[in-house]
Symmetry: C2
DNA sequence: ACCTGAACACCGTTCAAGT
DNA sequence: ACCTGAACACCGTTCAAGT
């Protein structure tokens, strides 16, 4: 088999987008977004940094491809549930794939992929809304809101669970001492919840609010 | 007056945190977050870059002070409205101050100030919820959700309205052509809304969903 | 005490030249 | 066609030395 199709003049390339993106995601998991540099990625690929620019026009282009690749891991929920159940499943799936990689939310939030995985996800969410009877305008805005809040939540979650260097106080600790030092009765009462690490509960709360609000808007107006 | 209080040995400082933060915010408006460097800021202050580290331990510390300063511009809505009206006013005020400066949302989102302005804002939102009868746990999570979605929205808004360099296609254009090139019926139907620049309408939709959802949760459970 | 000058250890990106 | 080698124009941060 392996038809030569286009007889590629010169040597076969040692790099390609797919393999580079895969390696970049592994490097991301190992060192985090801050330390993900073109030079370090080139090192891991056994290549010079400049070679990466044959396959990605900029670092931003690489990050966008990484975000697109991450979205490819969302499971298509073929469930025969109602629209609310299908919506919850899609939101949880998006959260899951972002949490699956170190700084995944920041990578996704810093890019705007229009690749097939990203569009397929948006298409699924829109399908749920439109088949549930939402107007096109509401469906589009409901998609934006859902992506927004899911991204925002995972951003906070990954920021809060970041491994802090020795000696530096936890973010929760900094908030606690600042709140207790000032005249903040409401914050004082709620700071245990605000610094809680039960992010599943926080996410499900936001998801409940969102779905509940959308249900009201579906019939009204 | 002007009591010498502590006789400051040596020359009076040419820099202080407040003035530096103010200048940094002006520089941000002029050049954007990407070009906001310690060297450029030092230049504008007539000082060497290293001098900034007498007043801010890191650039992150400076950015946090900038975010804190921005939150100081929220107007205290002393309105005698119901909890929903007060909540809407606070969310709109947060959106307003973030939109007031170039890349304001990204600066705020990349930091976690526990300064008085930030805490005062959180305290206000929590006050609305708790006085409306929300449980402490729900109030705390509703605050997180509100800040989340307001930040996420302004992040998207400022990303979409960024001045693009010549020749580079608009983000909306890229989305449009990608959608029309593939099998995406739902996206095709909604892409006019998704690429709409009526961000007020998008924000008010999300605010409606949020408030509507919270109203249901207040009594229930 | 506060700032300068200069360095350290990096960045992303470009591009002639090799193969 | 693809990659190397080397450079360009920067970064954030540190710190001896000056005043």
């Amino acid at each position: 088999m392996s038809s030569p199709s286009i007889p590629s003049r010169g040597r076969p390339p040692r790099l390609d987008r797919a393999k580079t993106v895969e390696t970049a995601l592994e490097l991301l998991d190992d060192v985090g977004l801050e330390a993900l540099t073109m030079r370090r990625l080139a090192d891991r690929l056994g290549v010079q940094a400049g070679a990466l620019y044959r396959h990605f026009t900029t670092k931003q282009d690489l990050l966008t491809a990484m975000a697109e690749r991450m979205l490819g891991d969302v499971q298509a929920s073929t469930g025969s549930e109602d629209w609310e159940g299908r919506l919850r499943a899609l939101a949880r799936a998006m959260r899951r794939v972002l949490l699956a990689r170190r700084d995944g939310a920041r990578v996704f939030g810093g890019t705007h992929s229009v690749g097939p995985h990203t569009l397929a996800f948006a298409e699924s969410v829109l399908g749920v809304f439109r088949e549930a009877g939402f107007k096109d305008e509401d469906a589009a805005r409901a998609l934006m809101t859902l992506v927004n809040f899911t991204l925002g939540h995972t951003l906070e979650e990954q920021a809060a669970t970041m491994p802090r260097e020795d000696g530096a106080p936890d973010e929760a600790d900094r908030l606690r001492s600042a709140v207790l030092a000032g005249p903040y009765p409401h914050l004082t009462a709620t700071v245990p919840v605000l610094t809680s690490t039960d992010f599943d509960a926080h996410f499900e709360f936001a998801l409940d609010v969102h779905v509940e609000g959308l249900r009201r808007l579906r019939c009204g107006a």
